[in-house]
Amino acid sequence: MPVMIPSGFRLDKRSLPCKLVCVNKDLIDGIKLSKRYDTGGCELVFGLMCLAFGFINSNLLDSSADSKVAEIVNASVLIGTGALCYWIVRAIPRYVVWPRMGYFLPQPTTFWRTSNIVLVLVIMAAAIGAACLVASAELKRPADQFNIASSGFGHEVSIACAIAVLVVCAASYAYWFLLVGKRECLWKWIVVVLLVAGLLAIGLGVHGNVFKVLAPAALLTGTAWLISGAATLVLYVRDNKRTDEVHHE
């Protein structure tokens, strides 16, 4: 019986190799573009950014007599994190991937794929919803209470926002894991479970408005991403020999 090509198929430089499995079974094994280059670089970068965000929001330096010191330290953390992320993104292909797998330059892909459009719309809807909630809470507040951080939200609104923050933290890793092709790394399911458990513990243990949840959630999320990325990088280095080592065997 002839092989059916699914309807609605489109010629896409990323999807085409996967669709060619009907042509020759050699291709089923031969064409695997993305799997072997999971070095954990993106996870490391995102983890560092979350940690920086969590550090700044934790206000650890609030007790310092000089608020200028806190500002300088926070700015240094931001700049340092940015520089480190920039270096990681360039160093991993140059020093880890190329000596092992050779050099390759992916085709630039358009950002506006369906999944990314949906993600952006969800984030925009969440931001607009949150802004409406804040505005609604502010309008109900007596005119002499302007400070959101000190006076807090309505209790229900605060809980809802805190839950949203925790869900987004967990969902972002799960999304990365499930939809960005990391399904073969089964140990990352453990990271998802631990992340959800930790965020639940934060949600139950931290009382107060959403701003008190942000810092510990960001720190936990950043740590999870950082450890996941580091483990992925170590496994990649362990499982892929440098080409000069292979040639000398």
């Binding site: 190799p17 064409i31 797998m101 050779g102 050099y103 330059l105």
Partner: protein
């Protein structure tokens, strides 16, 4: 001779060979890559890969640049515009042939 067989007969023989099809399919998804990368991905021997690359270069489907990365020789490969067009046409022809067969089956 039915339509499906006619389509299959018109397939580009240079690309249709499984080894070269793997090469072209890989290069179609990249801007460029080096010989070592392709060797690791395709799983051929060096000699076999070189032979196929020579054939594709002669057809004008790929471009091969020999350069250096520091002191290490680097052979960079990329699909030409003609190669992209030929690959696209090959796939469309194949899709037509298979759909013809599905329609009749």
């Amino acid at each position: 001779m039915n339509e499906q067989v006619r389509c299959i007969n018109s397939l580009n023989r240079i690309i249709h060979e499984p080894g070269r099809l793997k090469i072209v399919a890989h290069l179609a998804g990249l801007k460029e890559c080096d010989f070592i990368y392709l060797l690791n991905e395709i799983g051929m021997s060096k000699g076999n890969l070189s032979t196929h690359l020579t054939r594709l270069e002669a057809a004008g489907y790929i471009q091969i640049d020999k350069t250096y990365r520091g002191k290490t020789p680097l052979t960079v490969l990329r699909l030409t515009e003609a190669g992209h067009a030929a690959f696209k046409e090959y796939f469309q022809t194949l899709k037509t042939a298979l759909n013809q067969g599905a329609g009749a089956g």
